[in-house]
């Protein structure tokens, strides 16, 4: 592995100061993405700032009912946290469907938000990739693109965002707390990741030196059921071909509120707003779910090998909505 300097930080301000808003410095927590990509020569930091000693390992319920998650809470601990299991089952399911036991034990909340694409051309330093090397082209466009995105794509990049956790957060709604040289600010989770557009190398809205310190989940939709469905080439330890995270509240057979986000098919964690509009105030029926699925994929753009993802994602949406409605019924039998 290439050489780099290393420093621990004891508190947030020291971490930010040590980072120095230098493009060649990277924060490290779990290291599961970072060290993998350093070994591949895709990421080339000159220095790492270890944030594991920062007081960011707590999960706490705020007075307004929202759940505040520290940056270094591991995926395992978050998935099994009693508040997450009880109030945000979608997040727990999504986390446990991702990676392996060992990786979940290491990977952190903020690190997962910052997870890089698994596009094989991005991970191959000898391939053309606009995301890794701006202006170099995109070998995925006419290459083997079975795993690639159909939503949010551009002429420059069709790389899929790989995270399951982020799909759940996109559906639930969340706020990121960012701390950097210019102070602390907050950002809606769904504004954080960028579409590739003409600048796929700009993956997110972080300013130089900024650190994600917390992810705060919106209060759960009252009386809602939830389901995360992940479809993939093997039953475990595999990235999604298509996934759907649904949160649905039903009253008298009608959908009062629905949240839907998709994974495995888009260039960022994909909140399906059109589908949500198609669900709102409609009967909780398969016909409604199918219309929502149609709406979610209406702008999909396939490439040579990944057109199958469009019907696959539609099916994932229908099934996730159906299961979420069942879950809501079980939670609220009187409705």
């Amino acid at each position: 592995m290439r050489s780099f300097a290393y420093r621990t930080a004891e508190d947030i301000s020291q971490a930010v100061t040590t980072h120095g808003a230098d493009d060649h410095v990277a924060y490290v927590a779990g290291g599961t993405t970072l060290l993998d990509l350093v070994k591949l020569d895709v990421m080339r930091p000159s220095q790492l700032v270890d944030i594991n000693r920062l007081p960011l390992s707590e999960v706490e319920t705020l007075d307004d009912g929202r759940l505040r998650i520290g940056a270094t809470v591991t995926n395992t601990d978050l998935a099994h946290h009693p508040e997450v299991k009880a109030r945000y089952p979608l997040l727990s399911q999504a986390l446990l469907s991702g990676a392996s036991t060992q990786l979940r034990n290491m990977a952190t909340t903020a690190g997962n938000v910052m997870q890089r694409t698994r596009c094989p051309y991005y991970r191959d330093a000898s391939a053309a990739c606009n995301r890794r090397e701006p202006g170099s082209g995109c070998d995925a466009m006419h290459g083997i693109n079975r795993m690639h995105a159909v939503l949010g794509v551009s002429d420059a990049c069709i790389a899929t965002h790989p995270s399951d956790m982020c799909v759940a957060m996109a559906a639930i709604g969340a706020t990121l707390t960012l701390e950097g040289p210019e102070g602390v600010r907050e950002m809606a989770f769904n504004d954080f990741h960028r579409l590739p557009g003409e600048q796929p190398e700009k993956e997110h809205e972080l300013r130089p030196g900024e650190l994600i310190t917390h992810v705060t989940l919106d209060t759960p939709v009252e009386g809602a059921g939830a389901h995360y469905l992940k479809l993939r080439d093997r039953a475990s330890y595999e990235f999604a071909l298509a996934s759907a995270g649904a949160v649905v509240a039903v009253e008298d057979g009608m959908i009062r509120e629905a949240r839907l986000a998709l994974g495995g098919v888009a260039t960022k964690p994909w909140r399906a707003h059109e589908a949500e509009q198609a669900l709102h105030d409609q009967p909780a029926s398969i016909e409604t779910f199918e219309m929502a699925a149609e709406a979610a994929l209406q702008d999909a753009v396939p490439h040579e090998h990944n057109a199958f993802k469009i019907p696959l994602a539609r099916q994932a949406i229908v099934r996730a909505l159906r299961e979420a409605c069942k879950d809501a019924e079980n939670a609220n039998p009187q409705r």
Binding site: M1, R2, S3, F4, A5, Y6, R7, T8, E10, V28, G31, T32, L35, D36, V38, K39, L40, S46, Q47, L48, D50, N52, R53, T76, H80, A99, S100, T101, Q102, L103, N105, M106, S236, Y237
Partner: protein, 175 residues
């Protein structure tokens, strides 16, 4: 865990990392870019932990850090200051095999054996983790980060479920 002092190293500079390995205090002399896997094998000569893919995809390098199974190929040695590391060499205690080791032997839960140390470290951790259910499907899911190219999965599962009886009976050492 947090008692240790600040660590700062330039690229290529060797620093001392103090940690506990298999119950004994040890020191590593490493540059920042050395992963725990290589430090265990090359510096401490604990070669039971295997290097497979070196990218967190195969699980051959699984060890316990503070009781949790992790991929030692993706953990920097400098990040292990003050930590408690257990490798496959630390599973047996007082001349007695860990229940998982005994069960792997009895159930022939390997063929070439290369993935076996990692398999056993994951198995030992999951048997101590109350959050992982005891049914076969949950065990297979919890073990999915350990690949076996020989395909000994069936016997590995049987061995783990057999070892569970010893561990829950309180005869296990807990690793």
């Amino acid at each position: 865990m947090m008692e240790s002092s600040e660590t700062s190293a330039q690229a290529g500079e060797t620093v001392t990392v103090s940690l506990t390995v298999n119950g004994e205090p040890r020191q590593l002399q490493v540059t920042p870019n050395v992963v725990l896997l290589d430090a265990l094998r090359d510096d401490l000569r604990l070669t039971g932990t295997k290097k497979g893919c070196d990218h967190g995809q195969c699980g051959a390098c699984t060890v316990h850090v503070d009781g949790k199974a992790v991929n030692s190929c993706l953990r920097l040695a400098v990040m292990c200051e003050g930590r408690h590391v257990t490798t496959v060499e630390g599973l047996a205690r007082d001349g007695q095999l860990h229940p998982v080791q005994r069960a792997f032997l009895e159930h022939d839960a390997y063929q070439c054996g290369y993935c076996t140390p990692g398999q056993m470290m994951s198995a030992a951790a999951l048997l101590e983790d109350e959050r992982i259910a005891a049914d076969d499907a949950s065990v297979r899911e919890a073990m999915s980060g350990n690949l076996c190219r020989c395909g000994a999965y069936k016997n590995i599962l049987e061995a783990i479920q057999d070892a569970r009886r010893d561990v829950t009976a309180g005869t296990g050492e807990g690793a």
